[in-house]
């Protein structure tokens, strides 16, 4: 993944943390946003649009464009640019819209 990365860090990271993206372990600088960490690791797309399936990756880096949506520890539609990386974070691409029907069935069972 890192062979053709679009971004590179200005210098070596003082500290790193391990996160997981699509099942692969990544070593990323501590204290950066998840979006920066993924871009710096050579991830080229982080979501598939809920409207038309188009591939997207972090763009505005300030919470506006919603191109960086990912699933984090089971929570869908997280904006990766607004989340700091955390050791052990498990991240998946956001594929399409979030499904709330399953969750509702659990409510009904209570």
């Amino acid at each position: 993944m890192s062979a053709d990365r679009l971004f590179r860090a200005l210098g070596p990271a003082r500290n790193t943390v391990q996160i997981e993206f699509e099942g692969a372990s990544l070593s990323v600088p501590a204290g950066v946003s998840l979006a920066a960490a993924l871009l710096g690791s050579g991830v080229t797309h982080t979501r598939e649009s809920a409207v038309n399936g188009r591939l997207g990756a972090p763009f505005c880096m300030m919470g506006v464009c919603f191109e960086c949506l990912v699933e984090v520890d089971g929570q869908a539609n997280c904006q990766a640019c607004l989340l700091p990386v955390r050791a052990g974070m498990r991240v998946q691409r956001q594929r399409g819209a979030r499904d709330v029907l399953g969750a509702d069935e659990e409510v009904a069972d209570e």
Binding site: A76, G96, A97, R98, V100, L101, A103, D104, V107
Partner: protein, 385 residues
């Protein structure tokens, strides 16, 4: 009043019909007049204007409207009946799918009083329309069977097959494109500062520009009050604010529009239907947003774990009695005033029936009830809540 000599300025721009206001109302009429073969120009303000057309909820709503004024109920019914033809025409002209869906809609009732009031209004309307007004009253259990996911504290609801919804932003975009494709000149970024009437037409001034039109349609929303006054026409409209919240995109779970909650074609869910008297402030406030969110979660508990991504306020254009104003001015021949709420629902009938009437094609008896004459001698009632 502008001087006649100024009418000879070399930059004078002429048109058959000038429409002031490029929102859903103005553009629907412009499109209808263009279909009639008229040469039409639309004068529109800039991005800082108050714009109901960019803040609305997207319902094509019939049930409950026109309580106390059956011609409005009838007009609204006829509007939604014209919608499939209107949408097909726009799609043929622009290729834009408006995502028109008319599966019927639900009004959810959160208290027995609300249910009783809605029932009373719908029964009145059915009588007023001689029985031709389909709806069903559902208790909580029936409602939850028809609309899965409705919360346990919702006491019941009303369903009417007359209701539907559409993507209102795609509608606005499509009207722009269709008007342009049919030769309508849309002139943005001008706020009309003066209107003068001459024997043969109207002269409008905005900044250092002016336009001349044989006929004039005022469709400027809340601006109609001020513009009408320049022609000696009193237009009793005032703002009523609604706030809307929008959620993250969800897989389809709600296949019918409801008055408080609507899932759009692209997955987001709109929560709304607040009513506030807030002057010309189209902002948002946490108290009203919290109330909208709480009500939506009562209606559909699964929304309690969903994230909101946007919120906005917009101002409804409410006439003194809440019903549309369609006025072909007797004192100012050639000028027509159109002011209304529900610019989405009425878009089809504005294009396909109001525009031919404005064009003088026929006298439409249905429109008599909507003239300004009904306000003569009446004090203006302010709508609050």
């Amino acid at each position: 009043m502008l001087g006649v000599e100024r009418a000879t300025v070399e930059f004078m721009q002429k048109t058959d019909v000038m429409i002031v206001g490029g929102g859903l109302v103005g553009l629907s009429i412009a499109y209808g007049l263009a279909l009639q073969g008229r040469q039409v120009s639309v004068l529109d303000e800039g991005d800082d204007a108050l714009r109901a057309a960019r803040g609305n909820f997207g319902l094509l709503w019939v049930q409950g409207k026109g309580y106390g004024m059956s011609p409005y109920a009838q007009w609204t019914r006829e509007a939604v009946a014209l919608w499939p033809r209107f949408a097909a025409s726009l799609q043929a002209d622009t290729g834009i799918d408006l995502h028109l869906r008319q599966p019927g809609g639900f009004q959810l009732c959160l208290s027995d009083e609300e249910m009783a009031e809605e029932s009373r209004r719908l029964l009145w309307l059915r009588d007023a329309l001689h029985g031709d007004y389909p709806f069903e009253l559902l208790d909580g259990e029936q409602l939850r069977a028809r609309l899965p996911g409705v919360g346990p504290t919702v006491v019941g609801g009303c369903y009417s097959p007359m209701d539907g919804h559409v993507n209102p932003l795609k509608l606005l975009r499509s009207l722009y494109a269709a008007c342009r494709a049919r030769g309508v000149r849309i002139i943005n970024g001008h706020r009309v500062s003066a209107i003068g009437q001459h024997a043969s037409g109207f002269e409008l001034e905005a900044g250092d520009q002016r336009w001349y039109a044989a006929r004039l349609v005022l469709a400027a929303g809340l601006g109609n009050r001020e513009l009408g006054a320049q022609l000696g026409i009193e237009v009793p409209v005032s703002p009523n604010r609604g706030q809307i919240l929008v959620t993250e995109r969800l897989k389809p779970f709600l296949h019918y529009p409801t008055t408080y909650v609507r899932q759009t074609d692209e997955g987001t869910v709109q929560l709304g239907d607040s009513h506030e008297s807030s002057g010309l402030d189209d902002g948002t406030g946490s108290e009203v947003m919290a109330a909208i969110a709480a009500r939506a979660v009562r209606c559909f508990p699964r929304l309690g774990q969903v994230r909101l991504v946007r919120a906005w306020g917009a101002l409804r254009v409410m006439s003194a009695d809440g019903y549309p104003i369609y006025e072909a001015s007797p004192t100012c021949p050639g000028a027509v005033v159109v002011s209304c709420h529900s610019g989405v629902t009425l878009a089809a009938i504005h294009a396909l029936r109001l525009a031919p009437w404005i064009d003088g094609e026929f006298d439409d008896p249905a429109l008599a009830a909507f003239s300004l004459a009904r306000f003569n001698g009446k004090n203006e009632v302010r709508h609050v809540g």
